[in-house]
């Protein structure tokens, strides 16, 4: 059974600082997704990582995937308050392309002025 672990689960950081959220998973998979959820809102797709070594960047966020280490990272550069949200990673449990995702429990990020 695929297990997906995110850490930290809670993160409070100051504006302007850098930090990384980690997503580890327990079985082989080449596909990983990052989502953002604002309080009371639904999930918004941030990144789709489809192969080993994939790196995607959007603004102050950068996501990468190392399938050999079964690890994805979401790096935040020079955080701003607008990035405050809960971030989820989700892993394709089939490993090679399906809609069957296992989600992590989420990392709640608070960026403090």
């Amino acid at each position: 059974e695929l297990k997906v672990e995110q850490n930290p689960l809670f993160l409070s950081m100051q504006e302007g600082k850098n930090y990384t959220i980690y997503c580890n998973y327990s079985t082989t998979s080449d596909r990983l997704y990052w989502y953002r959820q604002d309080p009371g809102k639904s999930l918004e797709s941030l990144f789709v990582l489809l192969s080993n070594g994939a790196v995607k960047q959007e603004g102050r966020l950068m996501a990468s995937l190392d399938t050999k280490a079964r690890l994805s990272t979401l790096h935040i550069t020079a955080a701003v308050h607008d990035l405050s949200a809960t971030y989820f990673c989700a892993v394709d449990r089939s490993g090679a392309g399906s809609y069957q995702l296992t989600f992590g429990k989420g990392t709640k990020l608070s960026v403090i002025p």
């Binding site: 596909r31 997704y33 789709v48 069957q100």
Partner: protein, 112 residues
């Protein structure tokens, strides 16, 4: 833009009632999904559908059923609501080789 809509943002039902949650997507996606989201547990897949009239069980199907009579619409049914089904329910749809899913706004269901 992909749009996934859900019939209600908030619902309050009594134990034992039959509950229908409706989801509609406007992007002609073949695949649709129902999840529930609970604090500390993340999202868990209840049911999904790859085509009209087709359904597959997800990780936690017990106590739920689904219906997909039209491509754009996917309904989640709680045959006899119980208090442990109080949760946020999220619908999603998807298509394409990336298998990316697009989520609706969610329905917060409270069963009393």
């Amino acid at each position: 833009d992909v749009k996934v809509t859900q019939s209600s943002r908030y619902l309050v039902k009594r134990t034992g009632e039959k509950v229908f949650l409706e989801c509609v997507q406007d992007m002609d996606h073949e695949n649709m999904f129902w999840y529930r989201q609970d604090p500390g547990l993340g999202l868990r897949l209840i049911y999904f559908s790859y085509d009209v009239k087709m359904k597959e069980k997800g990780d936690i199907p017990e106590g739920y059923s689904v219906s997909r009579e039209k491509k754009e619409r996917f309904s989640l049914i709680l045959e006899s609501a119980s208090t442990n089904q109080t949760s946020m329910y999220l619908c999603a749809s998807g298509r394409g080789t990336t298998y990316e899913q697009y989520f609706g706004p969610g329905t917060r269901l409270t069963v009393t």
